[in-house]
Symmetry: C2
Subunit: 185 residues, 2 copies
């Protein structure tokens, strides 16, 4: 991996752990093993590097979600696989985390990939949920878009509860709860 990629990867990790305001160019350089000059050669500054990092994290999230949601199995099986897949729960979501950063949400270009990713994720889930309704696995008459928002919110909120408790237990409870509601019908 070249220096430019190392910088992007280090920025991704630090944005995940500490957010945009909590991450300094110096910290990124040190983690990447690069000097000042190197970073400012490849990027105009902190913001442009963060932009590259956010875009890459956003792409990876959607790709990972697709591998469960577009995989084999019934709608309920795919949604269950997505919700139950192994996650580093206490680290939170590398994309959702960015919504808590004032400088990210205030900057249209930095917010755009976050918005696009979560919006597309909901759209993918709504498709699968719609398929489940058509197949009679899920109750008809409920808005797939609303249910998709609920499912994604359970994940994002589950991370919040887990980090507050310093334990993955409430995350797992929240996932179990929504799966039970979806499948009890």
């Amino acid at each position: 991996m070249d220096t430019r990629d190392q910088l992007i990867d280090s920025a991704r990790e630090l944005l995940w752990e500490r957010g945009y305001v909590g991450t300094s160019p110096k910290a990124i350089q040190q983690r990447a093993g690069a000097g000042q000059g190197s970073m400012y050669h490849h990027f105009s500054g902190k913001r442009e590097l963060a932009l590259a990092a956010v875009r890459r994290s956003a792409d990876e999230l959607l790709t990972a979600a697709d591998s469960q949601l577009r995989g084999p199995g019934t709608a309920v099986e795919r949604i269950t696989a997505y919700l139950r897949r192994e996650r580093e729960v206490l680290r939170g979501c590398p994309v959702g985390r960015l919504t808590q950063d004032p400088e990210i949400v205030a900057d249209p270009e930095l917010r755009a990939p976050v918005d696009a990713t979560l919006t597309r994720l909901r759209a993918r889930l709504a498709e699968v949920l719609g398929e489940g309704q058509a197949a009679g696995e899920l109750p008809a008459g409920l808005d797939p878009a609303a249910l998709a928002a609920t499912v994604v919110a359970v994940l994002q909120g589950g991370y919040v509860l887990a980090r507050a408790a310093n334990s993955p237990v409430p995350f797992d409870q929240a996932v179990s709860g929504v799966l039970a509601l979806l499948t009890v019908h």
Copy 2:
């Protein structure tokens, strides 16, 4: 309101907007209309002031939730009232927001009020959900603790989706989705 309270209130606002790492003592002082000396007279430093601010916000959240959850009405009515109450969705949750701050979750004393508040909120909701099951309003056989985690996660995650989209719409969708799942039975 005296200077000490002004400082706590200003700290609460800034912690809500910018988090712990994004908030400087100077910014708190300026918002409070107080000088350096004043702040360091009342508090030993940023951390102690933040501790007072976090505790106050945590207390207020639980009090506000109780006013809906312990109010009149059936279990479903109270949960609906709680989920549908007016919120400044794009500002996010003043308590849940803190879980994204590395310095908050790494500090047991700062994390404690956040943890206690979200844990108690889930316990209150589990009680109400249990009452709803006993009254036949909600499907029996589902774990009230899991459902409570789901409901709180939908709120916390709804804020994430809304801030990403810069719109309250996905928050409202997520709430509608979980209410539909709870009441369709």
